[in-house]
Amino acid sequence: MSADRFPGFDVLSQRKHWDPVTAGVVLERISNVRDFRFFTPDEQAIATVLCDRLLGQDGDDRIPVAAMIDARLAEEQTDGWRYADMPEDGQAWRDTLAALREDGFADATEKEQDAQIQAVQDADDKWHGLPAARVWSLWTRYACTAFYAHPDAWTEIGFSGPAYPRGYKNAGVDRREPFEVRDHQPGEDPVR
């Protein structure tokens, strides 16, 4: 990660302005991550590493992405639909984690793990009998949805989070609310 682009910005400092229902779900998300219920301990171990690699998490204050996915699958908060050539999402997670286990993912070095992940993204067709592109989509969809649901991620990207009932008064290019913090590296387009 690059250095802090929004120094001093903390979306949670605004929580007193959130409506109680929204504050309830967001604060529960950060304070009360439940025990794993869906993944077996073996699956949990692999899912945790996989999700941390997918989101480049290697520090101490990690967003518990695998636990958030586990909660979603345990409560069947999936999108409902599945591809005809894939099992439903919960089973697809189990199958793909088992495939990674078969490949020795858990015991590999970080570099090897990254290579194994990259191989799924690069595969043209099947990966362990499943369409590789759909596996990639499953992993990244769930991992990103969990990660960017977390206030720490909002703070990291300068997003102001829940906005009811206050709303915004200063919309427009280069306009900010009093509590928003300017990007201190505006020219640092990461792919320029």
Binding site: G56, Q77, G80, Y83, P186, V191
Partner: protein, 542 residues
């Protein structure tokens, strides 16, 4: 046209004390017994079902509107949060197939009273006159059994009831809107600036978000969470635009009621009511007329699941039309990166649009066209854009940290109706034991060309506005068709009045009846078609 309050008092029936739901109106609503033979039972309280319910309740009909989902209270049930808004979507199991499977759920499927309009962006453009005769004009798609002038007054009426805000509209049949255009945020500003430099006309609107007070509905607060359900009551959905008036005129809304089968009397050939499950108990509501408004996946599924001796291949499916010609719009989104901060999350995602490329351009190799609109994804959705570029790990995080610098446009490409793009029944069953829908979709060549052309125009606009980088994600939006209207039963399921060809007292009043889709968001047209069907029904005997 009479004053809107005299036609539809919904906005005045909502509370004006800072809360959003008139609990007294719901508590005191008229209630019918299953054994009452009511005038009309409506299946689904979305855009089409709610308008039909409100219109006929006003005529004194006894109407029960069933919905599989909850009777929402924006204060209690909705949040200003992307992840926790999944409950707004239809997430019962479905299978997607074909060469280009279309993801469902959050993107295009609603649940509960208000339907998908609870989480639509809020764009409410009219269809163009050409949309009703694409086959005659362009040799593609289908002609409707009605034309634009048949819907024009209904468009204007619904635009007042929502109400719609926007600039004077120069495209299609030029018209004005009842509310002034909203001020724009960063994303709208970029679109307007880029379009002007690129020589493209763009206009603010048309969005069904009140600009100023409307009845007891307050002004928009520009918080950007339109797609998560409007906690303000500023963005229109039938929950606040038609249901309150329907209740005040004696309709019953029965939420949490999943309709499983339409019953048709073998002897008379008439529908007699609907089977539904509420609180785990199977019930049957008797009715003199049935209207199905479950949208393009669940409406065909319900018809197919209502097979009988008379209709062995599914109700109204004598000519294998049920479930066919289901359409989605190609909806690529192109984003541009600016050194300035855009912070596109600050404002409703629907702000500015252009219909300059809507019609067939004879100089192009493809037929029909596309529209362009601001979209403004929030972080989880924005992460899909970034992940779609192939980024993951630390690279994805870095790219995401750039969020405030991006502006995002979306196109709606008019994909053409094809018979094989359809809903059938899958082998697997839902928790009620009913076969789930399988939706198969494959793009055609014209569709693919439109996607490319739309992307190129969006890139031009963003570059003209000063973007130093652009990225695109290919996706789909909206559903229409699946039980389309046609001139006869060999080409569709219902006639121009939304009456099924096969069962004279069975109607379909939702997006599934649309034979083509234009490049317009469908909500307004679905409401207008339902309002017209209601008008025709008024004159008939109950």
């Amino acid at each position: 046209m009479s004053k809107v309050r005299e036609r539809n008092e919904s906005a005045w029936l909502l509370p004006n004390d800072g809360t959003r739901t008139n609990h007294g109106l719901r508590r005191d609503m008229r209630r019918f017994d299953d054994t009452d033979e009511i005038d009309l039972v409506v299946v689904g309280c979305g855009a089409g079902g709610s308008v039909l319910t409100q219109r006929l309740a006003r005529e004194g009909w006894s109407v029960v509107a069933l919905d599989a989902g909850p009777f929402w209270d924006p204060d209690r049930d909705w949040v200003s949060d992307e992840a926790d808004s999944h409950r707004l979507y239809w997430t019962e199991p479905r299978v997607i197939d074909g060469a280009d499977p279309v993801p469902l759920g959050s993107n295009n499927s609603g649940r509960g009273v208000g339907g998908s309009m609870v989480h639509y962006a809020g764009y409410t453009p009219r269809f163009h006159p050409s949309d009703f005769e694409t086959f005659t004009r362009d040799g593609v798609g289908a002609d409707w059994p009605l034309s634009y002038p048949d819907l024009k007054d209904y468009y204007a009426a619904i635009e007042e009831e929502l109400p719609v805000a926007g600039e004077a509209w120069p495209w299609g049949d030029p018209h004005i809107y009842p509310h002034r255009p909203h001020p724009v945020g960063g994303n709208g500003e970029i679109f307007l600036r880029g379009a002007e430099k690129a020589g493209i006309t763009a206009k603010v609107g048309p969005v069904a978000i009140v600009n100023g007070r409307f009845g007891n509905r307050p002004h928009c607060i520009y918080r950007g969470f339109c797609l998560q359900g409007c906690k303000v009551n500023a963005k229109a959905s039938p929950l606040i635009t038609h249901i309150p008036d329907a209740l005040a005129h004696g309709a019953e809304v029965r939420p949490d009621s999943m309709v499983t089968r339409i019953e048709v009397d073998e002897r008379t050939g008439l529908a007699t009511g609907v089977h539904y499950v509420r609180d785990g108990i199977s019930r049957f509501q008797r009715a003199r007329m049935v209207a199905v408004a479950g949208y393009s996946i669940e409406t065909p599924r319900l018809l197919l699941n209502s097979a009988s001796k008379r209709f062995p291949d599914g109700l109204c499916n004598d000519f294998d039309q049920v479930g066919r010609y289901l359409m989605v719009q190609g909806a690529p989104q192109t984003a541009g990166r600016f050194d300035a901060e855009v912070r596109m999350y600050k404002s409703p995602p629907p702000e500015v649009s252009s219909e300059q490329f809507y019609e067939t351009d004879p100089s192009r190799p493809y037929k029909r066209g596309f529209s362009i609109q601001t979209v403004s994804p929030l972080p989880i959705t924005w992460a899909e854009h970034v992940a779609a570029q192939g980024h993951w790990g630390g690279k994805l995080r870095e790219y995401m940290s750039d969020y405030v610098h991006w502006s995002c446009l979306g196109a709606l490409c008019e994909f053409l109706p094809e018979p094989d793009n359809r809903v059938t029944l899958a082998d697997e069953k839902d928790r009620h034991g009913l076969p789930v829908a399988k939706f198969s979709y494959t793009k055609g060549d014209n569709d693919k060309q439109l996607m490319k052309a739309a992307q190129a125009v969006m890139e031009d606009i963003l570059h003209a506005a000063g973007a130093d980088e652009v990225i695109t994600i290919d996706r789909y939006a909206h559903l229409v068709g699946g039980a389309r209207m046609a001139a006869d039963e060999r080409h569709g399921v219902v006639d121009a009045e939304c009456r099924t060809f096969a069962v004279p007292n069975l109607f379909i009043t939702d997006g599934s009846v649309l034979p083509t889709q234009g490049s317009a968001n469908p909500a307004l047209t679905i409401m207008a078609v339902a309002a017209r069907a209601a008008d025709r029904l008024k004159g008939s005997t109950r």
